[in-house]
């Protein structure tokens, strides 16, 4: 083990995944073997990956060349700090999800289990390869393989037309994005014909071409990440996929887009322009606001979480934008802070979003319901799931002392440092944007309270919910692992920042690690304690201490008597579970406030209706204002082009004739 270089270990992990997948093909319909042996094995391999990545973080970059790929362009692999960090995220979140998946997959859901196993592990392996790739070809192959394998996973239950449509939309956007990334690499290789990243780093492009590369990367990676307005596939694909797959897609796969963005902007491009950062920031915040508003008005659990992922991705892009702005002005320390915030949030989001998605998966299995309006009160029947999901919910709301808060805290700190920027406009606008981030974070809390409150608390809205069963032991282990990750990351951010430090030093030549280490392990203070400090352990300890003390004192001084009685509810005599707020009701204030952002279709009952029904459909403007016009445009053009082929042979001959004349005229 000691003599094994981390990169060899990572390659072994990838090989192990692939072989597990192939085993799955051979055991195509042997459900027990696939779910009880292969998936847990995959989970253990994830853990090994996390360990190798951890080891690699503290070593100098290592390279490897695989004898695959194009002639003269074998697969170059490189394990540097950035790659190692993302591998750590993949391994960490993947381990929990894999073990959960072992208990989750049920028989008879369309695709045979063995094939699912193959697709799942190829998906994992391709994500690791994306991060590891050190040339454009290997990157693109891994990138598209990732899209493809996840597409097949999304359409696992392909008998449902909506799922097929979702898969189609997903793959289409992914493919168009991939072409943009490909073109970005085409710019970066600067006509040398050498597609290794090493060569791209060595090129110095003119600002025009560098900007072209950056914009292409933004489009390409943005499409994958779900940046507004390229997000449309996300709320369709995530609910369609089986829950562990949604967890991986939302938690991990979206992060590969962040990885790509960071890799291109900080590693492959030799310069940064401030307006790139401003653009990223604007796009990111718009995405975040859009995502969170839509999340609050959803009534489907998984769609809600999918929109919440859009929100988080927006924040991540905004953080990258800040890092780019600072770096463009040579303020490396602040750039490192922004990047640290971004990477911290990457890990944090990977954990809590995976946790939430697998939690919804449990609910879905136990109740068969995805609609929030038909759930409720599950904390009584599925306590394990409920309490573990609560951790995810708190982390996702950005509440201290969990992981979501730590990253948001770092991000807000970065925003507050911008008055030092030499650009008169930026230094004025950006701190104001911090308020927008605060608004987004608060709205995320709203969405999460709605999610948890409606699903797990209150009275069950359907009678069948009372038969819901709790998670099995494998599922519990998986969820516990993820929840523990959220807690640990939240409580010990300093230690985690030391890991991120390796990445920022690598990319920016600056890291927070030294400074953070100075103030001790207890306190997170990126610059100085006077400037800003946050100690999650003290914080948590303080709250816990006060609460426990209060509890003990109350018991000691007074008493612990308690009596159960029917709920009072202002004395209302007759109550049913239907009287609780529905999901739509809970989102109603937000719907009203942000009405211009949404596209509402209301069906209000009239006084004469015998069976009055109230229905509100929340639509996405970008779908109607952007995508449908594009689709119509394509259709229109296709109709016009179709006129070329009207079946009349004389006309065909005429084309040939005119082309001939035209070309002769041209060359004459």
């Amino acid at each position: 083990m000691l003599s094994l270089l981390p990169i060899d270990g990572v390659l072994a992990v990838i090989a192990a995944w692939l072989s597990i997948g192939i085993c799955g093909v051979f055991a195509l319909r042997r459900f027990a073997f696939v779910s009880r042996v292969l998936f847990p094995a995959g989970g253990l391999v994830c853990l090994a990956l996390a360990l190798f990545a951890l080891q690699a973080l503290f070593q100098s970059p290592q390279v490897a060349v695989l004898p695959l790929g194009l002639p003269g362009l074998p697969f170059h692999l490189r394990l540097d700090a950035l790659a190692a960090f993302f591998l750590l995220v993949i391994g960490g979140a993947g381990a929990g999800v894999s073990i959960f998946a072992a208990g989750y997959f049920r028989q008879g859901e369309g695709t045979p289990p063995g094939l699912l196993c193959l697709e799942y592990h190829v998906f994992l392996a391709s994500m690791a390869m994306v991060v590891l790739a050190d040339d454009a070809y290997a990157f693109m192959v891994a990138w598209e393989t990732m899209a493809l394998s996840s597409f097949f996973l999304v359409t696992a239950n392909h008998k449902v037309p909506e799922i097929r449509d979702a898969g189609f939309l997903y793959l289409l956007v992914a493919h168009v994005g991939a072409i943009a990334i490909l073109l970005c690499f085409g710019v970066l290789q600067a006509n040398t014909g050498d597609y290794t990243f090493a060569n791209m780093r060595a090129q110095s492009l003119t600002p025009f071409w560098a900007s072209a590369a950056f914009l292409l990367a933004l489009f390409g990676f943005g499409a994958k990440a779900g940046i507004f307005p390229l997000h449309v596939w996300l709320p369709e694909a995530h609910p369609a996929a089986p829950s562990p797959v949604s967890a991986l897609m939302s938690g991990v796969m979206l992060k590969t887009a962040v990885y790509g963005m960071v890799r291109v902007s900080f590693d492959l491009l030799h310069l940064q322009l401030w307006w790139w950062g401003a653009l990223l920031l604007a796009v990111g915040l718009a995405t975040a606001l859009f995502g969170v508003v839509f999340a609050t008005v959803q009534s489907d659990m998984k769609r809600l979480l999918a929109y919440s992922s859009i929100e988080n991705i927006g924040l991540l892009f905004a953080a990258i934008g800040l890092a780019v702005i600072f770096n463009a002005y040579g303020m490396r320390a602040l750039s490192a802070l922004a990047l640290t915030a971004c990477l911290f949030h990457v890990a944090s989001h990977a954990l809590f979003k995976s946790l939430l998605f697998v939690g919804t998966g449990m609910v879905l299995h136990a109740t068969g319901q995805r609609n929030l309006g038909r759930l409720g009160g599950l904390v009584r029947f599925m306590p394990w799931v409920a309490w573990l999901v609560l951790i995810g919910v708190l982390a996702s709301s950005g509440l201290p002392p969990l992981s979501g808060f730590a990253s948001e805290w770092l991000l807000l700190q970065t925003f507050l440092f911008t008055p030092g920027l030499p650009h008169p406009f930026l230094n004025m606008v950006i701190p104001v944007l911090a308020a927008a981030v605060a608004l987004i974070a608060a709205l995320a809390g709203y969405a999460m309270v709605k999610f948890f409150g409606v699903v797990f608390l209150g009275q069950p809205r359907e009678e069948t919910l009372r038969e819901a069963h709790d998670a099995g032991w494998l599922e519990r282990i998986g969820m516990l692992w993820l929840a523990a990750g959220c807690v640990v990351l939240g409580l010990l951010p300093t230690q985690f920042i030391v890991l991120i430090d390796r990445v920022t030093i690598d990319l920016l030549g600056w890291g927070l690690g030294r400074q953070v280490a100075q103030t001790g392990w207890l306190i997170l203070a990126p610059f100085s304690v006077e400037r800003a400090s946050f100690s999650p352990l003290l914080f948590f300890g303080g709250v816990l201490f006060c609460s426990v003390l209060a509890f003990l004192l109350v018991r000691a001084i007074y008493h612990g008597h308690m009596r159960r009685a029917p709920p009072w509810d202002c004395g209302f005599a007759w109550q049913t579970a239907r009287m609780q707020d529905t999901a739509e009701g809970f989102g109603q204030p937000i719907r009203q406030i942000f009405e211009p952002l949404l596209r509402l279709e209301r069906h209000l009952p009239t006084a004469a209706d015998r069976e009055p029904r109230y229905r509100v459909v929340v639509g996405d403007h970008s779908w109607f204002r952007l995508y449908l016009p594009i689709a119509h445009g394509v259709e229109f053009l296709a109709r016009q082009v179709g006129r070329l082929q009207r079946g009349r042979i004389s006309i065909y001959l005429l084309y040939s004739f005119l082309t001939l004349l035209f070309m002769l005229f041209l060359v004459r």
Partner: protein
Amino acid sequence: MTLSGLLSQCLALVLALVLAPLLTGWVNQWRAWLQNRSGPGLLQPYRMLHKLFNKESVLAESASPFFRAAPYIIFGCMTLACAIIPMLSTDLPLSIAADAIALVGLFAVARVFLSLAAMDIGTSFGSLGARREMLVGFLAEPALLAVLFTASLIANSTALTTIVTSLAHREFAIYPSLAFAGIAFTFVSFAENARVPVDNPATHLELTMIHEALILEYSGRHLALIEWAASLKLFAYSCIGLAIFFPWGIAEAEAPLALIFAIPALVSKLAIGGFLLALIETLSAKMRIFRVPEFLASAFMLAVIGMLVHLLLGV
């Protein structure tokens, strides 16, 4: 951590726990007087707490453990909040645990737990209250943060102690940005502490109630803790406001003896603040719940304008 630091920390904590109900009583008393009522007396909150603690707790049949844990957590959060706000002295060992942003996070934790607990029983009023509380919260929280950001930008720090130190002990300067921030903060405090014009703590009117709807199902010691926590919240908010906008009298870390003068200063400032609060409450009318977002949005805007003013003028 110095001995004096520990001392001021403990003193602040105890003072907060003890004085918080009194502040509530003071405000309520003044309100009664201003409305030409005789009022229940200053110490009524204490009597109330005592009564509730003694009473048996009646729990709804469907209440989950979450419902029972929430009051303690909320109380713990508010206690910690009072501990980290520099109300008497800037020499607070615990203040490293949380800066301005984390303080807002702390309030958010309490709010989320309260809302979730309200949804737990599954009554119509509970979820109504939770929804309204979160509505108020999602607008008030960023506004509060923006207020704190303005102060942070002036002080170049988000640590509360540093903010207070730099505001209180630098040479006297007029910060127009803080004026905006101050108005915004006032708005936010009204909303956050369930006061008129946003909420009326004295009624159980289903069309308007927010805070009361949340705690409908609580009784006995749980209710006592929540009420106490609410008092603590009012206290904490008042202290934040005083610390940022009227920071005079707060002891510095280097001068532990100033603590002796800090206590009366704080008490008198609180007394004036409480009176003004009661006055404004009396003079304004409760607004419709759908007006609340507008009210809070204007608070948010004011706070942002405050930041902009600071960034524009550089002061």
